[in-house]
Amino acid sequence: MMEALIKDIGFIIGTTLMYSTPLIFTSLGGVITERSGVVNIGLEGMMCFGAFAGAAGAYFSQDPWIGFACAAIAGGLLALLHAIACVSFAAEQIVSGIAINFMGTGAALFISRMLFDGATQTLTIPNKMPLPLNFLFGEGKMFASSGFMDLVFNRFATVYIAFLMVFLIWFILYKTKIGMRVRAVGENPEAANTLGISVVKIRYGAVIMSGVFAGLGGAAMSIAVVSRFSNTLISGHGFIALAAMIFGKWKPQGALVACLLFGGAKGVEIFLGAKGVPVPGDILAILPYVLTIVVLVGVVGKTTPPGAIGKIFDKGESA
């Protein structure tokens, strides 16, 4: 009995980690762009496009890492469009973000139909993301297979990378020159400008990086959690990541906690589903979304976003 309970807990933690990972990548992307003062609700579209590019890249190259890189590039390219619209042409950031969402999901399906004989999903990739700690688990190894340790810690490489990235982005934002400049631009671009910091360059960099991270988030879904891209794969995860970023008060560590919370809802949903609890699966599937609304309504009112968020920076007559 006790052993089964521990195993159940291990299962929930394990699935939580797995499902949190795509959200962590994407909400880190959100943190980077919004800290520079540019709202990016196009994360969903970038994530979707990245998920497709990741799966397609991994399918054709037969190497998940190449897929992972493709996802980063795809997300970054889409974000470049957002940067051009919002930074260079001072477009309304929400409108551009909505357009990017349509474009990302649309382009993913369109290219998928072209490459995979009219199918809205890619074929199954031959090699998923590796499990870097797999050698520790199994018969005669350090830990037994399917034990608590295996369930929790024997995870895809993307999971570990995501956690490393949280630390890295935190370090860059708060301890380095470039991070300080990003935050300054997000709080008061006029001030940064008078000190000779290029608001345009910083914002371009930040927006593109947000796309790269959203792309990685998508790939963490399509080449690790599952092994192909399909048109319903992302369905709202980009928005949940956005909510996680806000809930996490625009901080990498805060976003991490929020993503784990949302991932946890998914973990519980899967666990209950697997246990055959007499609740319809559809109801269970709502859990993460309900949680998003509850969290946003209940908590977000008290957070302070970056000072210049969403505001267009007009350098005016500047030389």
Binding site: K175, T176, K177, I178, M180, R181, R183, A184, E187, N188, E190, A191, A192, N193, T194, L195, G196, I197, G307, G316, E317, S318, A319
Partner: protein
């Protein structure tokens, strides 16, 4: 008090306008190296579309000189300095720094050539610390771009000690007073090795004491051979701080004068282009009955702290009661409480014996006849996108004069606008242009027209002349005195002590949400009021 102690007194020099009595009798001119032109701007032209903001302006500033740029709002002073700092690209003209012809294409070039600028609206990142703000863009780093905060803090502390700019390097900028924030801005420029320092309206937000400190800082800087350019429209401070003054009117260079050789009146008429009356004419008048009574008022701010703290005050008919005080001592909340914009925690506000505490603004305006000229005319005074006629009926649109059933009567609204535009001299004389297209002075005239035409018994004016030029200030003061002469009660809140003393009949000094003293304007002593504003006792 001995001479040394006196010279260290923060109020030293306050109220003096003869520069020879300032700085212990040392004339500033002594620090100037007339053989070294730090800045030489020749025939500067800057156009924005069809509008010429700078029309062939010349400016020479020597090493060690304090040079004032004087002009009304919109005269082109700040534009000229933004060109010098590389924020605007000049249409034509040349800039020499220390004798070298330069193309200052962005602030980086300006910074590299020793030019620093303190903007009127501070360019600070509020959630950052003092040190972070100072090093931003020019960071002290270890390897790999990692910031060396310890070292930077030490540098900042040394710099602040050297120039007497006291500020805590670890404090968050958002927690600092305005005066301290200004010191951070000056440190920012000095940290970048500024030799030429531009100060845009540096005294607009300072208390009298802080202005004295600034004068001292400026003196320290010129002693080190730095040149200072002060943009201002305050004549008193030019007399106090500057050696030379260049006057700009409507983008044109009018004159450059040695400050010691001209009077404030000379400067003012050069600035405006006509003679200006400084002291508002005001006949004596007997104080009438009690119009507004505030008793033990407590008002909280957003954080739940009592910013108006057990305040009591009486306002009578036929008087202007001025409230003197430093920004942030509860003035804003007091006014909001009286006008119904903010909930009163405890205490009462009554108008002619009737309790109006916590009534809705609509009732207070129309039933109890209190009109309000708000502090922030752009946010609260006007609807920017609405035209003049619409802005003029914001309080009365529902009255039979302007509406019938559910519809507005357009003709009456526009004929009303026509009358008021004429009567209150609002320019341009067109009722259909949006409020945002008007100059600050005309926006204020529009608000005054609306509030006064609603025939209030009590008029509350919060910072009514903020950001206005001399001509518009004159107008506003006359309007307030007019109301008083008609037997109405006027409550004037201003951070400009001169204004309060000049216009009011009685002066109440507010400090930390309490009235700490009431004096008759005739016997008002600036020094004494200044001390009370800072919470000091005599």
């Amino acid at each position: 008090m001995d001479a040394l102690a006196l010279s260290r007194h923060p109020l030293w020099g306050w109220g003096y306008s003869d520069p020879t009595t300032l700085f212990g009798g040392v004339k500033c001119l002594e620090t100037i190296d007339f053989f070294h032109k730090a800045v030489e701007m020749t025939d500067m032209v800057k156009k924005f579309g069809d509008f010429t903001a700078n029309d062939k302006i010349n400016l020479i500033v020597h090493k060690g000189e304090v040079h004032a740029l004087l002009g009304e709002n919109g005269a082109g002073k700040t534009t000229l300095m933004n060109v010098l700092y590389g924020l605007y690209k000049p249409t034509s003209g040349s800039v020499k720094i220390n004798g070298n012809l330069l193309n200052i294409k962005d602030p980086n070039v300006a910074i590299k050539n020793g030019i620093g600028m303190v903007h009127q609206h501070f360019m600070l990142v509020e959630p950052f610390t003092v040190t972070q703000n100072i090093i931003l863009g020019n960071e002290t780093t270890k390897s790999m771009g990692i910031i060396d905060l310890k070292k930077a803090e030490k540098q900042v502390a040394e710099l602040s000690k050297r120039y007497g700019l006291t500020v805590d390097p670890n404090a968050l900028v958002q927690d600092l007073s305005v005066g301290s924030q200004q010191r951070v801005e000056i440190l920012k420029a000095l940290y970048r090795g500024a030799q030429i320092l531009i100060l845009d309206e540096p005294t607009a937000v300072l208390t009298p004491q802080e202005i004295q400190e600034l004068a001292q800082i400026i003196q320290n800087l010129t002693r080190e051979g730095k040149s200072i350019i002060i943009i201002t429209h305050k004549l008193k401070e030019i007399k106090q701080m500057a050696d030379f003054c260049t006057i700009i009117r409507r983008g044109k260079h009018i004159d450059t004068v040695e400050v010691a050789k001209v009077t404030e009146e000379d400067l003012a008429s050069k600035m405006v282009g006509r003679d200006v009356i400084f002291k508002v004419a005001k006949e004596k008048q007997l104080r009438g009955d009690k119009a507004l009574e505030i008793k033990n008022l407590v008002v909280q701010d957003a954080r739940g702290l009592p910013v108006v703290n057990n305040l009591s005050l009486e306002l009578h008919k036929g008087e202007i009661l001025g409230i003197a005080g430093i920004d942030g001592n509860g003035q804003k909340e007091l006014i909001e409480a009286v006008t119904g914009l903010r909930k009163v925690k405890s205490g009462t506000v009554s108008v002619q014996g009737k309790n109006i505490t916590n009534l809705s603004p609509g009732k207070i305006i129309n039933k109890h006849k209190i009109s309000h000229i708000p502090e922030d005319r752009q946010k609260r005074g006007l609807i920017f996108e609405f035209d003049i006629a619409e802005n003029l009926i914001l309080e009365t649109y529902f009255k039979p004069a302007f509406s019938k059933w559910f519809t507005l009567i357009k003709e009456r609204i526009y004929s009303n606008a026509k009358d008021l535009i004429h009567k209150f001299d609002i320019r341009p004389e067109e009722s259909e242009i949006p409020a945002k297209a008007l100059s600050g002075g005309n926006q204020q005239k529009m608000i005054i027209a609306r509030e006064v035409s609603n025939e209030p018994e009590i008029l509350i004016a919060a910072q009514p002349t903020r950001g206005l030029d001399v001509g518009a200030i004159e107008y506003v003061h006359e309007a307030l005195i007019n109301q008083r002469n008609q037997g109405k009660a006027v409550l004037l809140v201003s951070f400009e002590l001169d204004e309060v003393i000049n216009v009011s009949d009685r002066i109440a000094v507010i400090f930390e949400g309490k009235i700490v003293g009431i004096v008759d304007a005739q016997d008002a002593d600036e020094k004494q009021i200044g001390l009370m504003m800072a919470g000091g006792t005599e």
